[in-house]
């Protein structure tokens, strides 16, 4: 493909039959995806932007344009900012821990050890389970009265009802469920690193830890970067864990609910779609900003060959 585009860019020659075929089939193959994207993603994005400037009636009917009023309300709404803070707190636990743990796991499971595929499968399993089901099980593990955790430790900790620790408890579920996915990506990255480097290092007498920091991490940095960017985005959009684990009358909810959860409550439970749209626009702006910063930041630490 890249070969042919280079040729096509060279001074105007007529397309050969082969190039024409490439062109037609290329478009034919991406067209379904493009259509899907436009209908399901791009068009709704613009609708949402428009809706954030509107007051919506019952059942989302009768949009009345009200300019920036939703945004003005949002600036003054402490619940929005608290939720944004909660979202950051969640991400600050989920992203670094899930990356660090899965990186270490990936390195270990990249070696020749017994039952390697077995371990890989086990760590990947949480990915296969539906997030809502996972959260449901954790909700019972965390239960103060009957939960397995308190039962084993003989404690009476309110894992998900104490505002001081509930956000950590939720983030732990997040870490647990994403480790396998990150690990698979890291494994793929690790297998691209030629063994020669490690051989040379071990002849020079480098320890395993030294190898990890001086060879593995720099050479794996493109993968780490990719995982970091996607995980930050994913973590900032956390919803299902909070939704399933936290009951609406849970005292820790205001200090735990994520921005997407608040959006859901506003737009769908309270039927205030315009204001909900404004909230997701805020989230979009925040994610855009962070991602742009990361893109610039990568020059400092990501090594491409």
């Amino acid at each position: 493909m890249s070969e042919s585009t280079k040729q096509a860019a060279v001074p105007k020659k007529k397309m050969t039959t082969w190039e024409k075929n490439q062109f037609v089939y290329g478009w034919a193959f991406i067209l379904p995806t493009m259509l899907g994207l436009i209908v399901l993603n791009i068009y709704p994005i613009f609708l949402t932007i428009y809706q954030s400037f509107c007051k919506t009636g019952d059942f989302g009917r009768g949009n009345v344009f009200i300019g920036l009023e939703n945004y003005a309300t949002m600036l003054k709404d402490p619940a929005v900012w608290q939720s944004l803070l909660n979202t950051f707190k969640y991400a600050i636990i989920e992203v670094p821990f899930s990356i660090a743990i899965s990186l270490v796991l990936a390195v270990f499971l990249n070696r020749k050890i017994k039952f390697r595929s077995g371990y890989r499968t086990i760590f990947f399993l949480p990915m296969i389970a539906a997030p809502a089901a996972v959260a449901m099980v954790w909700r019972w593990l965390y239960n103060t009265q009957f939960g397995l955790l308190n039962h084993i430790f003989g404690t009476h900790i309110q894992w998900i009802s104490d505002p001081k620790i509930a956000w950590i408890s939720v983030a732990v579920i997040g870490v647990w469920s994403i480790i396998g996915y990150n690990m698979v990506l890291f494994l793929a990255g690790l297998q691209e690193i030629p063994g020669d480097y490690y051989e040379a290092a071990s002849i020079d007498g480098a320890s395993g830890i030294r190898e990890f920091f001086s060879i593995t991490i720099p050479l794996l940095s493109p993968t780490i970067f990719f995982v970091l960017v996607t995980r930050v985005i994913g973590a900032l959009q956390v919803f299902d864990l909070v939704y399933v684990v936290m009951d609406r009358t849970n005292p820790a909810l205001p200090k735990t609910q994520s921005l997407v959860y608040l959006f859901y409550q506003t737009a769908f439970t309270n039927g205030n779609k315009g204001y909900g749209a404004a909230m997701v626009m805020l989230l979009l702006a925040v994610i855009l900003l962070i991602t742009v910063v990361q893109m610039y930041g990568q020059k400092k630490w990501v090594h491409y060959d």
Partner: protein, 434 residues
């Protein structure tokens, strides 16, 4: 080997996401409904699914039209309906509730039934509890067939009462007696509590106490909050007192008061009649627990049970209005209303079926739910109060429950919280799109 593992993992992920898509489209596909498909019937109460599916199966045997009952939990039910209504893709047949019925009727989301009712031999709206019919009527037009009604009664744990040497609750009990008993039944070591109620248990706990004390939650023309009414505040103070003999609020919100009752952690709860179907399947409940009539207020001499009733509605834009109507007519027919009561699904809205319901099980004394519908019980005057509602009750009732969490955590703040609720609630009601 390495590549293959990664490829397999990726394939796995794709398979999962495909499966997710498959599930999603299956859900929405069935409501589009060509006539060969089953009618999609959506409800929110898991305990009623088996009984209602049986009634639907009878319907299929009679008419050849298939109908499948699906259950969502309360919150996702209303989200489903709301987004279905917004997107023009409501389920075929579903429950309507007084919380939101005004909004759905006003926006023409529900199939208007008057012509069908006029032409029907089975349905005569005079046969149903008038309060329930009223809930689903707007401008003299009818949008639902009354399905059931529910009252509230007191559940108590006989074993715990015996152990404490207390006599069982009966029609002579006032709310003050209940408070005394709750105190006596609470153990210091935290292994047993007298009572349990969560802010989410509005209809089955504190609403009853408020109205028995001559307070109110929503005024009579559904336009203002009563949370700052002195009588309401007095009742909510009582709620605060009672909370001293309840498990920690966090435990009640995490676990649910019904589960606490079923696991022998609390001695009493007040609960709606809709819980019977679930409780009678629980061995601990059937062995240890029974039902008494709800207590009365000693000052006012009034015993209040909140009642509410659901209606069967169909989507206004369904492709198969006649099939939907046939099912509504079936659900509303005398025979099926009796069957619903016989099976113990719920009390039926059809007048004269209460005996059927009371006899559906001998595991509990169901008269506790029925006696409150009489004019008097003991010395107290009985009164049934419709669950308070406005044009769109979801918004303010959610807010109230979330705010009351603060009062539950610290009952001394009860009054401030209630007054704050009243002002927020008035604002919300004023902004409803009437």
């Amino acid at each position: 080997m390495k590549k293959r593992f990664v490829a397999m993992a990726m394939a796995g992920v794709m398979a999962i996401s495909l499966a997710a898509c498959g599930g999603g489209s299956g859900d929405s596909g069935s409501s589009g409904g060509s006539s060969g498909d089953a009618l999609q019937v959506v409800i929110w109460d898991n305990n009623q699914q088996a009984g209602l599916q049986e009634i639907c199966d009878d319907f299929t045997a009679e008419t050849g039209i298939e109908a499948k009952v699906e259950v969502k939990d309360w919150d996702s039910y209303w989200t489903l309906l709301e987004s279905g209504a917004s997107g023009g893709d409501l389920p075929d047949v579903f429950w309507m509730h007084s919380n939101n019925s005004q909004m759905y009727m006003k926006n023409d989301m529900l199939l208007q039934l008057d012509d069908y009712i006029a032409a029907s031999d089975e349905i005569d709206l005079d046969n149903y509890m008038p309060e329930i019919t009223e809930l689903y009527t707007m401008d003299d037009k009818h949008y639902a067939i009354p399905k059931d009604y529910d009252t509230v009664a007191l559940w108590y744990n006989k074993t715990m009462f015996d152990e404490a040497g207390l006599s069982y609750p009966d029609e002579t009990w006032s709310w003050d007696d209940l408070l005394e008993a709750a105190k006596a039944l609470t153990k210091d070591d935290g292994s047993q509590y007298g009572f349990a109620m969560n802010p989410s248990n509005d209809q089955d706990t504190y609403y009853n106490m408020i109205y028995a004390n001559d307070g109110y939650v929503v005024n009579e023309d559904h336009s203002a909050s009563g949370y700052d009414d002195p009588k309401t505040l007095e009742a909510m103070d009582y709620v605060g007192d009672l909370l001293a003999y309840c498990p920690e609020p966090t435990v009640m919100s995490e676990t649910g008061t019904d589960v606490l009752m079923q696991s022998g952690q609390v001695a009493m709860i007040t609960q709606g009649s809709w819980m019977i179907a679930g409780f009678k399947d629980n061995d601990y409940m059937t062995e240890n627990c029974d039902i008494a009539i709800i207590p009365f207020n000693a000052n006012t001499g009034k015993r209040v049970s909140i009642i509410n009733g659901l209606g069967w509605s169909a989507a206004a834009n369904t492709d198969r209005p006649d099939d939907c109507w046939a099912l509504l007519e079936w659900f509303g027919s005398k025979a099926m209303q009796e069957k619903q009561a016989d099976l113990g699904v719920t009390m039926s809205a059809y007048e004269g079926t209460s005996e059927n319901w009371v006899n559906n099980t001998d595991l509990f004394n169901l008269a506790g739910y029925m006696d409150v519908t009489e004019d008097k019980a003991g010395d107290a005057d009985n009164e049934l109060v419709l669950r308070p509602y406005t044009y769109n009750s979801t918004k303010w009732s959610t807010m109230c429950q979330e705010q009351l969490v603060n009062a539950w955590a610290d009952p001394s703040k009860m009054e401030d919280v209630c007054i704050d609720i009243a002002s927020q609630m008035n604002e919300m009601i004023a902004s409803e799109n009437k």
